[in-house]
């Protein structure tokens, strides 16, 4: 049975799992403390009134240009595959789900 973790460590563990980053157990408390202080610092923003203010998602809101929906040459397959850690038969190769590689 694992020992219960404090909320900050549990939050860090949960975030790491969500974002698919394996973290050694001994590193978790340090990361949790860093995360905690960054989240605390960010809380100052909650004091800024924003009622009725539209979020700004992107600058140049008027610049987003539309392009013709047409087929254009893309990168050559061999060029793209050249960067893949593993490939087979012109495709990127990955381990299977539970049960190993194929």
């Amino acid at each position: 049975m694992t020992a219960p973790q404090d909320p900050a460590t549990e939050r860090a563990r949960r975030a790491a799992a969500l974002v698919r980053i394996a973290i050694d157990a001994h590193e978790l408390p340090g990361l949790a403390a860093e995360l905690d202080s960054a989240l605390e610092a960010a809380k100052s923003l909650l004091a800024v009134p924003v009622e009725g203010v539209e979020p700004l998602w992107t600058l140049n809101e008027d610049a987003a240009s539309e392009r013709l929906d047409e087929v254009r040459p893309s990168l050559a397959r061999d060029l793209v595959l050249a960067n893949a850690p593993e490939q087979r038969d012109g495709m990127v190769r990955v381990p299977d789900g539970p049960g190993g590689a194929r």
Binding site: R20, S65, P85, P95
Partner: protein
Amino acid sequence: MKARAAVEGALARIEALEAEIGALLDVDEEGARTLADKLDREPAPRGPLHGVPFALKANLCWRGHLTGAASRILDGYRPPYSATAIERLIAAGAIPLAITNMDEFAFGSSGENSSFGATRNPWDLSRTAGGSSSGSAAAVAAGFVPFALGSDTGGSARQPAALCGVSGFKPSYGRISRRGLIAFAPSLDTVGVLGDSIERIEQVLACVSGHDERDATSLALPPLALEAPREHLRGLRIGVPKEWDAELCDQGARDRIRAALEAMHALGAELVSVSLPLTLHANATYQVVSACEAASQLARYDGVRYGSRESCDGTLQGMIAQTRGSSFGPESRRRILLGTALTSDEGSPSYEHAARVRRRIVDELRAIFERVDLLASATAPEVAFRLGERSGDSARMHHSDLLAVPASLAGLPAASVPCGTCTTDGVELPVGLQLCGAPRADARVLSTARCFQAATRHHLARAPLTGALP
């Protein structure tokens, strides 16, 4: 000068100093020589950048070269295409020579987060070169190349330029295509330019700016039309925000900034005290927006299509988690976790809340330009700090970008120009003046900065160790 001679000169300077500085991750000697010889055979120069060697930050894709954002997770990555900015420079006759060191994925203000070791400041090798474009700034300061491409998401071109005593420029958001810039926070990312003078940066901007349909956030504008060189600053109103006041700065930097403001006044500019209270929240806003966007952007590094791959249990999920866990550096991990926690932690400001605060900051900044033409402040509130001094202390590290992030949030053009040196612990260290312009007023920022340089000539000061260079 002939292109080949320019390349050989750069290579000789690199040979003499690079081992001490650590500005470069790779040098393409043969590619540069071949291109130089070809350019030298052409009947007429293509333009002012014909035959000029340059360096580029490792987060700019350069076809076939190792440009993996100084991250182990992109170990061995050779992009199958080049960034638009690089394509345009090559078309103008400039010669890509070297790839510069940087904080991994541009996460940092000191260059110490590179997976390949920190860059040292040419003015004092015990100090940082700033960051994240640490190698680009140091490569120009060391005299390796006359200019280098960098990137600027929250000060990453301007702050290292200031700390290394060179000129730096963050264009308006969308002015230079982001195609081929490895993303950190797409709503903030820009390609930056660092150079030995503002005049040089103007030449680069004229070449690399202009609409690119392959970047949906690219401004639908032609290449930047430069302003004629100014002999004075009469008729310009320069705002001095009291929240960005020189009082924020270390003593030495403070004196240099005051002298720079006086110099601009002597050139005819009217100095106007202004207030931008919402920009006091700029740094916190930046931290939330950039971390959330980074966490999302860096999801693509999973060991599947490129970079390194680690495996533990033979499953796809295990491979992805192990690859990401062992290949991202500590600062990248911290930011990804922060961005992820912010999206799920009750009681913390959400990305949406930060985006609303950002709107208020942007509105405040845009409104001020109805009263003034430019804003002036220090680029960074300090001179170069010692390597290791702030390791593991994010709050102190972020302090260095305090004055740079407002322009990033609002997508405003901003330059950093050397404004003299001050003595710190017995060493002469450079200070940078930041000039920030109204939306899309890139040409105005550059012409003002160039006038300041012509009058003060601070940009001609060189790091002492470059004195005996070829």
